[in-house]
Symmetry: C2
Subunit: 236 residues, 2 copies
DNA sequence: AAGTGGTCTAGACCACTTG
DNA sequence: AAGTGGTCTAGACCACTTG
């Protein structure tokens, strides 16, 4: 009476190979048995043996090449993947979100902005400045420029109900996003808006984002988050 | 004379489905043709049609369930994945890396450290403090506590040649890593060590890491990086 | 020439959901 | 009972690498 949980055969083969690797019997660079060899060894069709190898390839444990075979890869550098916290979404989920619109206007692109937006100097642009709050406390200062061709109604939205970013994601789903995160010191004016009064306060995480929508720049945004209310984390 | 790049049939089917989705013909929740339907429609065996659906499932475009069918999923929240820059590795690659050891000693765990290291108060610990430099300029201040049972020779290493983290990764490959990134202001002493003299300087990215090696805490480390010399970025 | 992985076929049985 | 996806078989042809 062994375990009656009949496992798929391709899984048995995968587990066999994984065990050989993790136990150190098959070191990095070792050639593992070919599809045909595994098929014979496990009394299985080649397609089933193939599936085991294919999935281990997809998972990055093996590297395969036609004519050569399948080889144990060296474990990837364990590069931590950090996920960006969406403080605004979190506040919304908690029902404590609100937004103050400081500016929502049409402007003309200066040289720097035009360059980033990939348009000509002097072209029309929408500009918005917002304070995002959770439980009445400012958690983010945002300045955003939007391409009016891609979001003509951007200025007409009521941003007490819908977050600007959420609105843009909705009407113009970004095809590409560029992101840079730095640490900065808030200016005196920014500190005032963020209600950071202490002398020791003012250290912020700054998020610079640029979004594309089908090969055109949709928006560039700079968001300032007080360090006490913003941190990144990850688990591996 | 059409394109002679004969594409695999499963790819043609994938592209067909992707086109229907991206063009908006098949909205989120739509049931896509079954394996059998696609097999007939494309004059292909069921296994080939299956492969197309399976890969789209793996890629997150479809969600499949036995007895029900395959359905268009809502696009995932496009959560940016940031990769942690390894300033030290970069400096090493450029051949400009050096390291000053400020401290390398055995200490006894105080309450806070013992808690984080998951050991008892008063147990022996290795402590190291380092300044990492690129081209002679400090790029990171690091303080690390190491479990001596897992890295008994930690204090004996020559850290002018091998980076402490690289040494630990080598002798005790971490099974899990916890990471927290915050923005902070360097203390006066830290600013001195980092050669941050200006009044406006001192804003830093702080990386708190905790590494496990087979269920035991291997190390906890706090690294301080001047903001001007450290930023995170990602592309999607 | 023999072996490798990549693609593909035309069948099969299964557990699962639905009417 | 008919349809779905999940697993599996025993064949096939291909481009590719190696001796």
């Amino acid at each position: 009476m062994t375990t009656s949980v009949k496992l798929p055969r391709f899984l048995l083969i995968k587990q066999f190979i994984e065990t050989q690797i993790s136990s150190g019997k098959w070191l990095v660079g070792t050639r593992v048995p070919s599809e045909n060899e595994l098929a014979v060894r496990f009394s299985v069709s080649r397609m089933t043996a193939r599936r085991a190898l294919k999935e281990l390839d997809d998972e990055g444990l093996l590297s395969r090449s036609p004519g050569l075979g399948s080889f144990v890869t060296k474990p990837k550098p364990a590069t931590p993947q950090i996920n960006l916290p969406d403080v605004i979404e979190a506040a919304q989920a908690a029902g404590s979100y609100s937004c103050q619109t400081m500016e929502a206007s049409a402007v003309y692109a200066d040289a720097g902005t035009a360059d980033l937006m990939e348009i000509n100097v002097g072209e029309s642009l929408y500009k918005g400045r917002f304070i995002h709050l959770a439980e009445g406390i400012p958690i983010q200062l945002q300045e955003i420029y939007v391409n009016p061709k891609l979001a003509p109604a951007f200025l007409k939205q009521n941003y007490e109900k819908v977050v600007p970013d959420a609105y843009l994601d909705w009407i113009a789903p970004p095809s590409q996003t560029e992101l840079k995160i730095t640490a900065t010191m808030a200016t005196a004016s920014q500190k005032r808006k963020l209600l950071l009064t202490g002398e020791e306060e003012g250290v912020c995480m700054q998020l610079n984002m640029r979004k594309w929508c089908s090969d055109a720049v949709l928006s560039i945004s700079v968001a300032i988050n007080p360090a006490e209310r913003y941190s990144l984390s990850s688990d591996i």
